[in-house]
Symmetry: D2
Subunit: 360 residues, 4 copies
Amino acid sequence: MGSSFGHMFRVTTWGESHGGGVGVVVDGCPPRLEVDDREIQAELDRRRPGASPLTSARKEKDQVKILSGVFEGRTLGTPILLLVQNVDARAADYEDLRDVYRPSHADFTYEAKYGIRNWQGGGRASARETVGRVAAGAIARRLLIRECDTEIIGYVRSVHTIEANVDPEHVRFQDVEQSEVRCPDREASRTMIELIQDVKESGDSLGGVVECVARRVPPGLGEPVFDKLDADLAKAILSIPATKGFEIGSGFSGTRLKGSEHNDPFEMRNGRVRTATNRSGGVQGGISNGESIVVRAAFKPTATIAKMQKTVSRDGKITEIRPRGRHDPCVLPRAVPIVEAMVALVLADHLLRQRAIGGR
Amino acid sequence: MGSSFGHMFRVTTWGESHGGGVGVVVDGCPPRLEVDDREIQAELDRRRPGASPLTSARKEKDQVKILSGVFEGRTLGTPILLLVQNVDARAADYEDLRDVYRPSHADFTYEAKYGIRNWQGGGRASARETVGRVAAGAIARRLLIRECDTEIIGYVRSVHTIEANVDPEHVRFQDVEQSEVRCPDREASRTMIELIQDVKESGDSLGGVVECVARRVPPGLGEPVFDKLDADLAKAILSIPATKGFEIGSGFSGTRLKGSEHNDPFEMRNGRVRTATNRSGGVQGGISNGESIVVRAAFKPTATIAKMQKTVSRDGKITEIRPRGRHDPCVLPRAVPIVEAMVALVLADHLLRQRAIGGR
Amino acid sequence: MGSSFGHMFRVTTWGESHGGGVGVVVDGCPPRLEVDDREIQAELDRRRPGASPLTSARKEKDQVKILSGVFEGRTLGTPILLLVQNVDARAADYEDLRDVYRPSHADFTYEAKYGIRNWQGGGRASARETVGRVAAGAIARRLLIRECDTEIIGYVRSVHTIEANVDPEHVRFQDVEQSEVRCPDREASRTMIELIQDVKESGDSLGGVVECVARRVPPGLGEPVFDKLDADLAKAILSIPATKGFEIGSGFSGTRLKGSEHNDPFEMRNGRVRTATNRSGGVQGGISNGESIVVRAAFKPTATIAKMQKTVSRDGKITEIRPRGRHDPCVLPRAVPIVEAMVALVLADHLLRQRAIGGR
Amino acid sequence: MGSSFGHMFRVTTWGESHGGGVGVVVDGCPPRLEVDDREIQAELDRRRPGASPLTSARKEKDQVKILSGVFEGRTLGTPILLLVQNVDARAADYEDLRDVYRPSHADFTYEAKYGIRNWQGGGRASARETVGRVAAGAIARRLLIRECDTEIIGYVRSVHTIEANVDPEHVRFQDVEQSEVRCPDREASRTMIELIQDVKESGDSLGGVVECVARRVPPGLGEPVFDKLDADLAKAILSIPATKGFEIGSGFSGTRLKGSEHNDPFEMRNGRVRTATNRSGGVQGGISNGESIVVRAAFKPTATIAKMQKTVSRDGKITEIRPRGRHDPCVLPRAVPIVEAMVALVLADHLLRQRAIGGR
């Protein structure tokens, strides 16, 4: 009972990696929004595996179908069902995982929680579940563009120890997409690609950090004291598979500044109250202040590696494992559209909530 | 509409810094739990200002009253109302803040959101609101102890650039509490205290990191895919005033490891499935695995400083400000019981949710 | 975990009959609404016992205090805590009920559910809990008046077999309030009063029907398919103690009409789409159509009677009981402001929800 | 944003009458429940149109597919997606309804709310949406049987002025199903069928009352003060299309009894606390008391009739309408499985909620 997200713009994802399909219900989307299935498809294509030698070899077209909630190209205000059928599901690949727990995967915890699990390709814990998030996120983004021209851009900030140099205020979508690893810093991008290829050959994996900026967010979004905008963003990010950390604005490095160095002075620009710096990352007191929202998500190295590892089986026997199956040596490039989608879902939800109390 | 937290063990806080009082309603606490108001009071006393020269000089006894939900020392299963009346509220101290936005405070954003704000002492955005969280957290902790003997210990991991050396598996409550800054590493504690005193004298402020461990958490808690245990912990932490980041287990530093270095191998210990290492921080796939849960919260330096700062007023005029009022040069020591409370609230909520589906 | 109501305008009541007090948190009320505590008090005075020889002799002033969420006479957008302290709580009156289940009361079911109960005056199951509802309802009504001039009037439609003749389109508040039983039909009112006095003397009790009309409700409120306006009204009504039935518009009697007799033809009036009749009761397809909303609530006869009754005790022994305590021979007159409050809470909530998706 | 129902056993329906399909997501169903798609199909077949000359001629096989959440015949604890594709959708039949509001339908209110509507066959307001409810209800019923052997039986209590004589304590499923109108009183059933046929020929329609009993409900279900069991049942019933009233136990007729006549005396039977009578309808103080739960739903006469009616068009012109399309002269027989499903959903949800606090 945790497959829904959002209070007013509410999504519910469903589906296992190797079941009949995956998808999402979007309930609460305002009516009369133009929804183009090609736009949704374009986002899914960015998330799709098999698009690059750097990602999993699983071949899924991830063709999205809209089964309800849209009529003559516009939303009805009723629930939107988006469905993607599974095609290239090779359950047999996972047969030898039926009774053994892969290290740092969710096999053991699903078993501990439910007393049953779909052992085929990670079941519900597979990142394949995020198909629904990305599809719903495409609708959220369209809403944000219509209502306040908000733009959301994610990119790979670091892979392993390689840090990119990116200015969130000015990074452009095309600069991200032209990089095979979705890192807009060309030099860093090249080094990352080389490293990922090396590591892939050695059967190992890598982690890194995705940064995401939302520009032109109206001030006033966020509902203190628990549904603060940054609190909901943190939850959104940590709900993505493989994440271990979240930052907004100055994040952990801000803890090493003094107040006089960290505070963002207010000033007037073009007749609006603005901050001279943006260490707050666009949120103060849990509410957007009109500056760009900048968040970062830490992704651990992919748990699936092609090396022999110690583990135990369901019946408590010590054993070793070297998973086959298809996987990404580094999930970061494909994680970018997922992070963007989650940021979009949070902002869309809070936009509607702010409207309810009379704002915007 | 964001003042509630939790799905089954649900708290709703209310109150402004300088209104009639602050408090919380706890709805969903199981019946027949022994609740001792002295235990709640003890937690509030740990959070209370004025207890040390390092904290705000505001004198609040924070005397808690239980107005409902408890009968002859035990919970009824009905909502528990915990009330703390405000005593030392000096609204006049804040009179000059009525029309000016303090940098990196929530003055501007509350105004942008609501078109009105209680300018006395930060109003709802004041950390005084956390009184309700700590009081509710005391009840959650008692529930966790009764049901699964779960123990929650928080402590200051770093202040500014001073990092403590602490082992989350073995840190003891008394070692934390004997330190004036709640840092169980004696050497680091001493250095932190000196630094805070220096910075206080210079009218500046400091940030840092609070780490919190929950030991003896049963496996199976957490509701994928959105209400994952770590996702809810992240939301809980980021809902605390002044936080800018969250980590679980290896966090951001884990992104610089390879999969073969990061994965936690499974093994059998005392007849139970355990992990040999705990880089996962006790959560895998959004579900607790029975290992200790270890989270970290980044606190920015206190926004209130005694130095002159540039800002703007409500009518858009450039101005300067040097806030009076009473504040903490470093919130970290007082943040410890708040972090512990939020972790307790998340775990209590997920314990009940897991029970609902038949677990435990 | 069921003490909250509403999705956007959300109230949480707390308190037992003989605990420290009763009250409510209102979260989600839009900011800058003028809130007058005398207005809230006036509603509580209508609900208060002891105001008439027809009601319980319990003397409660029900003095309301606003502890948060209101600043200089206007709402802040933050949670509003309304508190009424219990004064005339005579727990001793109930001492002999500690171990015995009063027929058709909630003593047995609370014990069955929670394994514990506050036996003093019905505890949480007492109608005293509705103090919080009425207080919150007063704020909801003010919001509805400000936003759309919606007017809500309840009245006693029947007591036992005495049916009043009332036209919901034109009934006036003062006509209701001038009747000691809140029945605007003078003739029926007189007969009802006589019957209640007779029954009171005989130690028995009466039930009846409260009807409530909401006039000038904007079209478009209600969220199909589950949070339909009439579905939420039904829940609101059935959550009131002692209710056994709900009707909207034609209700049960409408089942004895044919479609050609029951359908409300559309017509144009003053340039607006209107219905010629209002058998729908203002709601079609779960959404308000701009006509008056007319609902009815069936109240069973008060369970507390002064006659000897058979029952069993906690240890399973057959016994007899003749409760003392103070009670109403007929709750209908005092139920009127409670029904109005619940209708107001539903409408306020749906008004905000409709705003969120872009309406009004 | 109102297409979800339930707090722990949570269903979300989606789909329009003439879109790509209809269905439901069930989130929160406990794991390891045996789910048989034939059982779900059997319930859908009971709801299906075209099965009798008394119902709509629309031919839908309503073939259900399980796309997720079930693995090797058992639930996984993850969301269950149930999908029924639309087959016999004849949008053209409704072309002339594109711009005109059918009396007592939801055409006008959907337009007023959303500013857009799917005019094909009622769109989202069509009873076709209840396919998802019935499918989800089948799973809820299986859970209730596994956990507490609870049995739910609905039947037609009245059609127009014809009242059946049925004993809710002893009515049997087969007696209901052998009647073409689902009325277990043979004599009444015959009269009802004749009346429905007459009315169908005259182009008119009928309403009536469905009664539903749940036997062997454990005591303790229901969450006062708002999520009372009867309050949630009322909401569930009023969320069904065409309902105008709800009763539990004595309902409106109970308002004409005195307390001494209405109270249910407690007694001991087979070592358990029982009530001698059941005017409470199995719920006291909002909590089940272990007696049979008996509820009634008032259904208005079908709004679609084949007679000429006055109405207005979208552009405000007075016009007349005689809808074609296919419809039921009396929805009561097909409403029975829908009412049962909603009762099952409420009970399943409250069973899980009660478990969470430690009961059962």
